[in-house]
């Protein structure tokens, strides 16, 4: 592998909890490498990651259990505007390195090497 190609990707850990793991082959922890730049050459952010997860990691067709507007995921990549915001589905928290994404810039947060992104579904049982 050339030095250039390792710079093209960002290795990260993505985790799912609170039942969301069921949508991702029942695996809680996924080690991934995503492209460092999105379709328009900007640094990959959380919105890009969510699209990536929908299109590549999520085998389950029930996209609406993960994102608010399921159509976001099936739009071909070249049509998709990077400015289009992806909304988490209500009841899901997105946590960037153990902090609520609202503290980190939400979906605009630019993914860094080694980041841990955790998606948690709220529980209601008691």
């Amino acid at each position: 592998m050339s030095a250039a190609s390792t710079e093209d990707v960002v290795p990260i850990t993505v985790e799912f909890s609170g039942g969301l793991e069921m949508l991702f082959s029942n695996e809680r922890k996924h080690k991934l490498s995503i492209a460092a730049k999105d379709e328009s050459g900007l640094n990959s952010n959380v919105a890009f990651l969510v699209r990536y997860l929908c299109d590549n990691l999520m085998k389950d067709p029930r996209k609406d259990l993960f994102v608010l507007d399921g159509t976001v995921c099936v739009v071909p990549e070249h049509v998709l505007s990077p400015a289009l915001t992806i909304q988490r589905r209500p009841g899901i928290l997105v946590l960037i390195n153990d902090a609520d994404w609202e503290l980190e810039g939400e979906d605009k947060y630019e993914i860094q090497k080694g980041d841990n992104i955790l998606f948690v579904s709220t529980l209601h049982g008691g």
């Binding site: 909890s17 609170g18 039942g19 069921m22 809680r28 085998k59 389950d60 067709p61 029930r62 609406d64 259990l65 589905r89 209500p90 009841g91 899901i92 928290l93 946590l95 153990d98 902090a99 609520d100 609202e102 503290l103 955790l118 948690v120 579904s121 709220t122 529980l123 209601h124 049982g125 008691g126």
Partner: protein
């Protein structure tokens, strides 16, 4: 019902009513003893320090012994802030700097409301009673069921069918009779929430629905009470301390509320209950114990009040002069504790946001008002969306358990079958672990989670994408494709959705093969056909 069953029911009822009666007598005894002690104290000129109740078990013999009491003629004068028995009972926590005498006195003069006497409420209330909280209120409208007992540790086998609140208080009273217990035999509603919450210092959300979680949070904001909220499902739990410090709406220094963290409720269909998803006793127990711990921390440290904050501090967010709140009393920054019993590490703490500037409950722009709450105009059930019963199939696509039973024994032919009447395929769409618990002879298991995961547009796409997920479709296709398919599940909801999906996948061979479900599922089969079939 057999006469033996009737006898069992009757005995259960008798025991339950005796328990209630016993409890009433204990209440009366405690009250009478308190009255006696108070009146004897008044007549003896004893100095009252106004630090709480008198323990029923402090005996006169005990009161005159030791150095803690000074002789004053024949009368004893109390010099110590706690009763003698309290030093013994709470000694192990009293010697800890985190509690100490001040903490114990705060616990004793505090009152805590536990909403829900289930898997969270039982352990939470037990530790709070044990720690010597002065007054504990319990709200729950349910009765004890056998399936509660593996996790709801205050209830017991002989108290099945008793109101949960009464059962819990009976246990708590034997644990610590000096605490005052207040029962509320009802579900919490918006109309009554504020009147009840105002009597307490800290509120614990130990409920199990999104609607109650929003209601409790709103009522805590309006009544300015800290909220200790927890939840659990399967092997996971979550814990948050909200609205702490409990400042009025619009004060940025107040702790975030449930709506700040979750402004919108999750889709109703995505909410899974413990009854459907399962729950491990120690998992929910851990979360309830942690709620008690957070509550004890909040009380022992001293609840921060509005008056603790200087107005300039509130406005500028900066400490000013002498009125800086004691740093030891400052609330910890808001966080969410995640517990995942089968992960390593099992605990994880997440930093949460502070109050949301546009929160509909705790910001200056609040739309959740006392009047709206009390009048019942805020419909929490509607806000969270009620799950309507699944009604996906036409009557011709469904059979009753009686009809299906006759099809099985061959007395009526299976749908559209002219050949062997018993020739049909029975598909059980419960999850594998449930299928292994019990199933009908000859049924094949295709869990609904696998059915739902299959994409119905798959037929148009190359099947190489997810070949394993199509296995079940291929299997059903190759099994004599004229045989009707009967689909069954636990209650008769997933079975309907599975039938829909099978038809979308073209398994009905363009309508020539009958596919339908068994109405009300295996629960109805157990109730109406085979009483020996396990109910879980």
């Amino acid at each position: 019902m057999t006469s033996r069953d009737a006898q069992i029911v009757s005995l259960r009822n008798q025991i339950a009513s005796c328990e209630v009666q016993l409890q009433r007598l204990r209440d009366q005894l405690l009250e009478a003893e308190n009255d006696r002690d108070i009146s004897s104290r008044d007549t003896s000129g004893q100095i009252s320090l106004g630090l709480g109740e008198i323990a029923p078990e402090s005996l006169p013999a005990e009161a005159s012994e030791g150095s803690s009491h000074q002789q004053n003629g024949d009368k004893v004068v109390k010099l110590w802030p706690l009763d003698k028995h309290e030093y013994r009972r709470y000694g192990r926590q009293l010697i800890m700097p985190e509690i100490g005498l001040t903490g114990q006195l705060r616990l004793k003069s505090s009152s805590v409301l536990v909403v829900g006497a289930g898997g969270l409420g039982c352990p939470a209330a037990a530790y709070l009673a044990g720690a010597g909280v002065g007054m504990i209120g319990l709200i729950d409208g349910d009765t004890v069921e056998e399936s509660n007992l593996h996790r709801q540790i205050l209830h017991s086998t002989e108290r099945v069918a008793m109101p949960k609140v009464d059962s819990a208080i009976a246990s708590l009273r034997s644990l610590n009779p000096t605490v005052k217990y207040i029962p509320y035999h009802t579900r919490l509603t918006a109309e009554i929430a504020l009147d009840i919450f105002e009597k307490y210092d800290v509120i614990l959300d130990c409920t199990d629905t999104p609607a109650s979680r929003y209601l409790i949070s709103d009522a805590c904001v309006l009544s300015q009470k800290p909220l200790v909220s927890a939840s659990a499902l399967r092997t996971d739990g979550q814990l948050m301390v909200l609205n702490n410090p409990p400042l009025p709406p619009g004060h940025a220094q107040g702790g975030p509320c449930y709506r700040c963290v979750f402004p919108k409720p999750p889709p109703a269909a995505s909410v899974v209950s413990c009854g459907d998803g399962g729950i491990l006793g120690p998992v929910v127990g851990t979360m309830g114990v942690l709620q008690a711990l957070e509550t004890i921390k909040i009380i022992a440290k001293g609840i921060q009040r509005y008056s603790d904050f200087d107005s300039t501090y509130l406005q500028k967010g900066l400490p000013s002069g002498n009125s800086v709140p004691d740093p030891h009393r400052l609330s910890e920054p808001p966080s969410l504790l995640l517990f995942s019993a089968f992960s390593n590490p099992p605990f994880r703490s997440i930093r949460l946001r502070t109050r949301k500037a546009k929160c509909s409950a705790c910001s200056a722009q609040t739309t959740v008002t006392r009047e709206a709450l009390k009048s019942g105009s805020l419909d929490y059930v509607q806000f969270c969306g009620a799950v309507s019963p699944v009604d996906a199939l036409a009557a011709t696509e469904r059979v009753s358990v009686e009809e299906y039973s006759r099809i099985r024994d061959g007395s009526i032919p299976a749908e559209d079958t002219k050949t062997m009447p018993t020739e049909h395929i029975l598909v059980d769409v419960r999850e594998k672990v449930q299928f292994e618990l019990c199933n009908l002879d000859g049924s094949m298991n295709i869990p609904y989670s696998i059915v739902a995961r299959s994409s119905s547009s798959e037929s148009g796409k190359p099947s190489s994408q997810a070949p394993s997920e199509d296995d079940w479709v291929a299997q059903l296709r190759t099994l004599a494709n004229d045989k009707p398919i009967y689909v069954v599940c636990r209650l008769g909801n997933d079975s309907q959705l599975a039938v829909r999906k099978m038809k979308e996948m073209g398994l009905d061979s363009g309508g020539t093969r009958w596919i339908g479900d068994i109405r009300n599922g295996l629960r109805a089969w157990m109730k109406r056909i085979d009483p020996d079939f396990p109910e879980y």
